[in-house]
Symmetry: C2
Subunit: 324 residues, 2 copies
């Protein structure tokens, strides 16, 4: 199948890389709002965004790699009229609205659109669903990290006197272990995660003031135990240039006529590169979008709607033989 990439940031790069791991896929090109001459891919041809529509018959699935804040709410419905698309829209609270916009557009164009693909939303959501379906009486806990939160890093960068920053979200080990041992409780934000910040201050900046502004920042940091380390630009580059992430979804549930048996289900991801892993998930769902479209299906789908086998290059027979 022939894949197009729209947007070439970290996620778009990850998709270019992931396609090389899937021999049944071919990358047609990258479409960008930037001047194509300024976009350095690892080999994929680059076209201006306007060119996409002209090339629509050469593309089976267009993978949308823009951001959730402003790009995808507009782009996904726009392009779903003309292409089978997959996006990683991750603003949880706005998913119902996004779904309905994209569904209307995809149905209008007789296309398939798969939204909110990645790991959260995505594989974590999927596991919350399977867990709840097989253990109806239970509680889910989601922990994130250890990993880099772009949103929190950006929030620190906006503070006066800050040159650059990196924020790690870290699950609290004691709470994690308690949950794994079946403890059921409404944990506070502080009990579940800590936040660790590596900050490069501008010369002469008031570090005490920066630290105070970080740890008291509403929504982002005030409800957590936050540690702030000031480091040099070189150290930040040397030790904190990766974009690792991960986390775990844990369900603690009971069965039995007297609820006497406890079961702990856990799904855990430990990712060296958050964008490359998300891109790999997008690419597997591009395969599903292609197959659903070939079957004549249309409209917006999520990870809940897609038969697992549609993600795999293996046939049903191979899957039953080798993986069941």
């Amino acid at each position: 199948m022939k894949i197009g990439i729209l947007g070439y940031g970290n996620l778009g790069k990850g998709v270019e890389s992931a396609i090389r791991q899937n021999p049944d896929m071919e990358l047609v090109g990258v479409f960008s709002r930037r001047d194509p001459a300024s976009v350095e891919t690892k080999g994929a041809p680059v076209y201006p965004l306007e060119k996409a529509l002209e090339m629509k018959d050469q593309i089976d699935v267009l993978i949308l790699c823009g951001g959730s804040a402003t790009d995808l709410p507009k782009q996904t419905p726009e392009f779903a009229k003309w292409f089978n698309v997959v996006d990683s829209f991750d603003t949880h609270a706005k998913i119902p609205e996004h779904f309905s916009n994209v569904d209307a557009a995809a149905k209008e164009g007789n296309k398939v659109a798969v939204i909110s693909v990645g790991w959260d939303p995505g594989l974590f959501s999927l596991n919350r669903m399977y867990f709840g379906a097989v253990l109806p009486e239970g509680v889910d806990y989601t922990f994130w990290g250890k990993g880099v939160s772009q949103g929190h890093s950006d929030a620190i960068r906006r503070i006066d006197g800050v040159l650059d920053a990196r924020q790690y979200t870290i699950p609290v080990e004691e709470t994690l272990n308690a949950v794994r041992n079946g403890s059921i409780k409404d944990y506070t934000a502080r009990e579940k995660h800590t936040r660790e910040c590596f900050v490069v201050a501008k010369e002469g900046a008031d570090k005490e003031k920066i630290e105070r502004e970080i740890v008291t920042m509403p929504n982002y940091f005030d409800e957590y135990d936050t540690t702030v380390h000031f480091i040099s630009e070189e150290e930040l580059k040397r030790d904190h240039s990766g974009i690792p992430h991960g986390g775990m979804v844990i369900r603690s549930g009971k069965t039995g006529f007297n609820k006497e048996n406890r079961h702990i289900l856990e799904y855990r991801l430990q990712l060296d590169s958050n964008p490359e892993f998300t891109a790999s998930v997008l690419v597997a769902f591009a395969r599903a979008a292609y197959r659903l479209s070939k079957e004549g299906q249309t409209g917006c789908k999520t990870i809940f709607d897609i038969p697992p086998a549609y993600l795999s290059p293996k046939s049903g027979e191979e899957l039953r033989k080798s993986l069941l």
Copy 2:
């Protein structure tokens, strides 16, 4: 939806219990080869097996709770002609043959049959599939335990001089940690699991001989480090009457243009009661079988073929809002 249970061992009991946790389901009754008067359920009416066919219009899905060795290879194709069925057939090597027999029968009867549901085969298989689809370049490891292996316990019970026995399969912690840290290697059976046996010897039996027979038993124990403890009948009853199990599927994979980023994906189950958990999975898939059948689908399905949302009592809208 109306559910029937065929077979009332540990699994059938687990299904009776699980149905109480699913308000959209109603248990019509248990069908047994035994004299109904001798089958003590927790309230479900018991009918002789022959009565099932007469009652077929009162049953939306029949959950088959027999064993994989001799019951299911006959029963699933037989009953799939008349009922939507779900089974937990777990002889991995014979799944393709079972699938094809059941598929023909279900198609003949215009019914849906879901086979090999549980956790391995079942949820573990599902995760092996998702893991491989999103990280094509990687290796899977499956560990089982700590948990009771019925097959190994039975093998010990067949030894001369043994009154009763319980065998635990236990993952080797060092190997598990190595895999979680990204080590890729062909581990031997001995490197992955140890076996711990609790044995009640008959009075006057030669314990040294029993121990030697256990640890050298081909296929079952000779490739493992095995520990044997002789205990009293009372101790076995007091400390080892549960049927816990579990395990983990771990994929270690790489992404990036130079495969420079490693990702570890893990799915872990820790189950107080293996049969009750398996039963809970069967019940969720009974819901899916019912829905597929309502849509007019027929034939044999596995966990790979079923859209996740079909397992959940929640609507697509609710799922997107609350779990995505």
